[in-house]
Symmetry: C2
Subunit: 428 residues, 2 copies
């Protein structure tokens, strides 16, 4: 069989990981792919940069979009970004009938349905295993393995930076800012960390998982996204006292009247699999009704894990895999109907910073009661004269909007300092 | 596109699970498969048996092998057994150019290479996701997702019956026989439990995982297999004191000079993922070098999880997937070279039942020292006059044959009762 010709755009950590993996894979990899895998063109912003590997033997292209006119069978896009060059290259490559493999979650979360349609029109494969949870083959599992019973919900720790920060806050007692600084020093967080700690990166990945699970077009708009900046060491410590750990989760759930998509810190019971995911690891829990649940854990970022996923996609393409990239044909991807706000019910962890004065607890409890929210347990601690006091509560299961309404009223009280913190308790 | 026509042989729990799943899947499943999935023939031993579902509309065949002559595109074999009718049907179906999907680990562990060759010769797909770890898509992941860096070792809890028994022994303090009886009462163990508790079922599954990992023909002969019958509650309790839990693992490892395949109880450190797999769940840990590790956990048996895997294979077939069933072409599957016995090194848990008399500890320690085995820690407990005493040790890392040799000598002492128990400590 003829070699599969590959063009790679973007030679950062992941791009070089892919080239290294392909070069080292040799005979064994060709055996798995059923044919030789041959890199016929590469591109990056700077040709002269030392990348620790001799690349002179591979034809260089200055313009990434020109890779779509190369003789490659498959274009691998590792540039990143939801639009710009990555989008131009995706459109050009697919339109030229080339297969397209990418690690670009932003691109697909934003333009996934259109690119899927373009790929199908041109009989090209569009593959993105590396876009979600690095080397964990969750995209393939969602697309191909859980189809019999269907996915009812998917919950994931999808951002290694946030999980690293939360793990370190718990281990060291540091506040968010210090843990972030440490993560940046060690290369676990970017200089501009907003996409990670603000929840945006998790949102991109969740949009793809939800599409794979429910046959809907990826939809970033119908998603509530909360990051981890507002979490304090107190929250982590209190969580522990209640037997929970705080994790930033991406959650997509089939509800009776629509799909609930959210990125938010959640209380995860210690002893359940998601609670034990440490450091920069990623994990996904898929509820497939009576056939499940299934839990996957592994490295969610870094050169080798991400390259592993990219190369798996390339091998699939070499083997002729070419089903619809979101599991159902692009034309049949439905628009996502968001769940009704009231259908989202949970017990909530609430933390208030209050002035230590008479009546403050009565006021908080009263406002919650007015919204129909009842309290399951409470901790009050840290009382030193004149200092603000933390009041922490776990509510009984309540509709989220009712709790949010009560908190808005409470936050307006002059006895309450700053914004109350509200974190749902995840069950199961 | 034309419907995919399916014949199902075997209408036990899993067979009925598959029929139910296909019947309920309807439009959504057809969308995933890219075509309608149509059951055109069924077979089981007894036609009259009440199976809780009306089957009158599906053509019945008394002879399973006759399904190979039906107009089905794919034959699903859920009869079981390493030879006999299942083998006859596999050969007949593949020879007739039909795709073949099976949950039969014994069949493939024994005849996998030959059937893979037959499938390729006839351009038929041979798929067996349900044969290993039920609904966990580990076969697909090993075959398709970890190909870039290659699998260095795979370790799995692959038998839910054994894991259930070990979990219950720990929870209740019961001995093996009582826990087995409970498992049988609750339907977690067969009336004849030998295939499960003797390790044979795990061995079948491990042979398939090893083949997928290393490109070798499945090889049951080059495998050391120990079950769980000899484990006592004492072992579980002592393990806990050392911070470990005992799990029956199937382990396949690439060693410097060959592949080590073994099924055996192992000490797994509490707090690592495999140690936390409870009850009838299954789990697999794959080491893929710098790209990993990856951990998968889920339901390893039962109607829905197994049917989920079977239906995923059917959908793959419907989509035209037809790569080599063990990841590399059948003709290129290599013979498995077993690792050198001395290359297997581990720290070992050792338990001796001894008479409470002077010199017994000196004798045991002396024999171990003669074999070059040194002791890392020791517990001696349960001393009541006249009763046998348990001496428990953890050795430093040692070659397994040296420890086994020493134990053989020690077992011959008239101060030592019964066979010493020897369990390796798994790291990582």
């Amino acid at each position: 069989m003829k070699p599969l010709k590959i063009a790679v755009a973007g030679l950062g950590t992941v791009g070089m990981g892919v080239l290294t993996c392909l070069a080292k894979g040799g005979e064994a990899l060709a055996q798995r792919a059923g044919r030789e895998l041959q890199v016929v063109a590469i591109n990056a912003r700077s040709r002269g940069k030392d990348r620790g590997m001799v690349l002179d033997h591979i034809p260089w292209t200055d313009d990434p979009v020109a890779l779509a006119r190369s003789d490659a069978d498959v274009v691998v896009e590792l540039i990143g970004g939801e639009g710009g060059v990555a989008l131009d290259l995706a459109k050009a490559a697919l339109s030229a009938g080339k297969h397209f493999v990418t690690a670009n979650k932003a691109l697909l979360a934003t333009h996934g349905a259109a690119l899927a349609a373009l790929a199908e029109k041109n009989r090209s494969a569009l593959r993105f295993e590396a876009a979600v949870a690095g080397g964990i083959p969750i995209v393939k599992a969602m697309r191909e393995s859980f189809v019999g019973y269907g996915v009812r919900s998917v919950r994931g720790i999808l951002n290694g930076t946030c999980n690293y920060i939360l793990t370190r806050m718990e281990a060291t007692g540091n506040e968010f800012a210090d843990a972030l600084a440490e993560a940046q020093r060690l290369g676990f967080a970017e200089a501009d960390p907003e996409l990670d700690v603000g929840g945006g990166d998790t949102a991109h990945k969740l949009a793809l998982l939800a599409s794979l699970a429910f046959g809907t077009a990826p939809d970033l708009a119908q998603m509530s996204v909360t990051g981890i900046r507002h979490l304090t060491y107190d929250d982590i410590r209190f969580a522990h006292e209640f037997g929970y750990r705080i994790k930033l989760l991406g959650i997509a759930r089939q509800m009776p009247h629509g799909i609930d998509q959210r990125v938010q810190p959640a209380m995860v019971k210690i002893g359940t699999p998601l609670a034990d995911v440490d450091g920069a690891f990623n994990a996904v829990m898929a509820d497939v009704g009576e056939a499940g649940p299934y839990f996957f854990e592994g490295r969610g970022a870094g050169a080798a894990p991400t390259a592993s996923a990219v190369v798996a996609d390339i091998v699939d393409v070499a083997r002729g895999a070419n089903g619809p990239c979101f599991g159902v044909p692009a034309a049949e991807l439905s628009a996502l109907t968001p769940a009704l706000p009231d259908s989202r019910r949970a017990a909530f962890y609430l933390r208030f910073a209050v002035l230590d004065m008479p009546g403050v607890l009565a006021e908080i409890a009263g406002r919650l009661a007015e919204s129909g929210v009842s309290i399951e347990s409470m901790i009050q601690r840290g009382r030193s004269p004149g200092e603000p006091v933390a009041i922490v509560m776990i509510t009984h299961e309540s509709p989220e909007p009712a709790v949010a309404r009560a908190l808005k009223v409470i936050a307006a009280s002059d006895k309450v300092l700053g914004n109350p913190c509200m974190i749902p308790m995840e069950t199961g």
